[in-house]
Amino acid sequence: MTITEMAKTSSPWLDGSGKHAESVVSSRVRLARNIHGISFTHHAKPRDLERSMALVREALQASTTLGRGTLVVMDELDELDRQFLVERHLVSQEHAEKSPHRAMVVGDGEMVSAMINEEDHLRLQAIQSGFEAMDAWRILERLDEELDGRLDYAFSCEWGYLTACPTNTGTGLRASMLVHLPALVLTGQISKVLHGISQMGLAVRGFYGEGSDVMGNLFQVSNRTALGVSEIDIIQSLERVVRQVLDYEAQARQILLRDARSQIEDKVWRAYGILKYCRKVTSHEVMSLGSAVRLGKSMGLIERISAAGLNNMLLVCQPAHLQKRFEREMDPAERDMVRADLVRKIMAEEEARTNTG
C-alpha cells in the first residue's frame, strides 16, 4: 500500500471497535530492541546503520507478521509524506526528521508496524482500537518471538534488553492508551486525577505522545518503568489504572447530567451544529468540537454519529492528511476551508448512515 492509497482510507485501528471504545480511542504497545555489536543509532557510523538496516529488514521480511508489509525509506519521502506518517501514528516526529538510513515497515491494516534505526535499531508497534492493550501485546509478542531467532538482540541477564535510553532498559516495553476524559476536565477534577495517575507510576502525555499538547481532552496514559516488571504486569497495571480513571470519568458524567444537563446539551449540540455547517475550521477546533460531540454520543445525547466517524474525522482533518487527500500543497487559510468541506461531508454521511441503520 502506498502513502497516497493510505491517505484515501481511515486507519483500521480507529474503527471504534473493542472494549470501552467510546472513551478509549486506541491501545498501543511498542518494544525497543537493538542488535548486539552495533552502536546505537545516534552514536553509529553510516556503515553501522547500513548493517542494522539490512539485518532488521531481512528479519522483518522473513516474519509472517510483517513479511508482506510495505517498506518506506524515510529520506526518499518528501516533507509532506513524512508528516503524514507522523499524523498517522506510524513514525515518531524524530524519525520523520530527514536523516539517512531510517525506514518504516507497516503491515496490512496498519495494526503492526516497525521503525528501523529510530532511537533504537528496531521499534515494534501494535495498535488496536479501544481498551485492548493485552491483544496488542499478544500480537507484538508473537512478532518479537519470530525475530528473536533471526536477530542477535542486545541483552543482559541482569538488565534485560539494552536500549539507547536507560528509561527503556529491561523489557523495552511501552504500553499506552489514548483516553477521552472531557467530564473530568469540565468538572475541574482532571489535575487531581492526572496527579493520581503519576503517583501510580504511570505517565500522561498529549495526543502525539512525548512532549505534545493535550488536545480534544485526549490523554495518553502509559507506563513509565520498564525494568523489574514483567510485560504482562506492565499491561495489567496500565489496564487497572485506566479502568479506574474511566470510573472517575463516568462519575463526573453523572454529575454533569444531574447538575448541568442543559449546559451540557447546549455545548454538545452547538459543537454538532458548527461541525455540520462550518465553512472554515482549524484542526484544533475539530479536535475540541469533536470532543464535545463524542461526549454527547457516549452520554446518549446524540445518536447521529458513530465513534468510528469521530475518529476518522480527527485523522483526516490533520494538515498533512488534508494535503495528501487533495494531492496538493495548501496554505493554512485554504486548508481551513477545505477541511470545513470535508467535515460537513463526514457529518452528512454519518447522519445518513445512522438514519437508515
Binding site: H36, H43, Y153, L162, L173, A226, S230, P319, E329
Partner: protein
C-alpha cells in the same frame, strides 16, 4: 503539524495573538518564528526526558569512565542521556546500577528474554537465591548447611561459565 507561515516545516512554536479583539492562534516553525522576531533558543528550551535523565545521572564513581566498545565517555552520556552501544552498560555498570534503580525502582530484569539466554537466566537467579540462603545459614551459625550451599553455588557457577550465551552483553 506544519508551520502556518511556510507550510513546509514542522510547527514548533505555538502561541496566541490578540489583535483587534480577535484571538489568532499561530503555529510556526523555528525559522519562521525567528523571522517574526520570536526568540526561541533551539534544543536547550525543550523539556525532554534526556534533560531530566542527564540531571539524574549524577557523579557516582569517575565521570571520566569510557566505553571501550564505542568510545562514549560517561560525561557525554550525562549530557545526552543516551548510551552509545550495548557495551556501555558494562563500562558504566557502577554508575548505571543506581541510576536504573532510580528510574525504574528496580535494577533486575524480570521480563522475557531471548531464547539463546534461556537457562542461563534461571541459573543466575538460582545462584542469587542460594547466596541469600548462604548468608542466612552463616547468620544462624549453621556451618554444615553453609558449606553445602557454598558447594552448590560453586558447582552452578562453573556450569554457568561453560554454557553457551557467550557474546551476550553485560553478563
Amino acid at each position: 503539524m506544519l508551520c502556518d507561515n511556510c507550510g513546509k516545516e514542522i510547527a514548533k512554536v505555538h502561541y496566541k495573538e490578540i489583535k483587534d479583539d480577535k484571538t489568532i492562534e499561530c503555529n510556526l516553525c523555528e525559522k519562521c518564528a525567528l523571522e517574526k522576531g520570536l526568540h526561541v533558543s533551539p534544543k536547550k528550551q525543550a523539556f525532554s526526558i534526556s534533560n531530566i535523565l542527564a540531571g539524574m545521572a549524577d557523579e557516582v564513581g569517575s565521570s571520566t569512565a569510557k566505553c571501550q566498545g564505542c568510545g562514549l565517555t560517561y560525561a557525554e552520556f550525562r549530557e545526552t542521556g543516551r548510551l552509545g552501544c550495548s557495551e556501555c552498560y558494562d563500562a558504566f555498570k557502577e554508575q548505571l546500577r543506581p541510576l536504573l534503580r532510580r528510574i525504574h525502582g528496580s535494577n533486575v530484569h524480570t521480563g522475557k528474554s531471548p531464547h539463546a539466554t534461556e537457562g542461563v537466566l534461571e541459573k543466575i537467579r538460582e545462584i542469587e537465591d542460594l547466596k541469600l540462603a548462604l548468608k542466612h545459614a552463616i547468620e544462624r551459625e549453621d556451618f554444615e548447611k553453609a558449606a553445602e550451599i557454598r558447594d552448590k553455588i560453586k558447582d552452578l557457577e562453573s556450569k554457568a561459565n561453560e554454557s553457551p550465551g557467550e557474546g551476550e552483553a553485560g553478563k
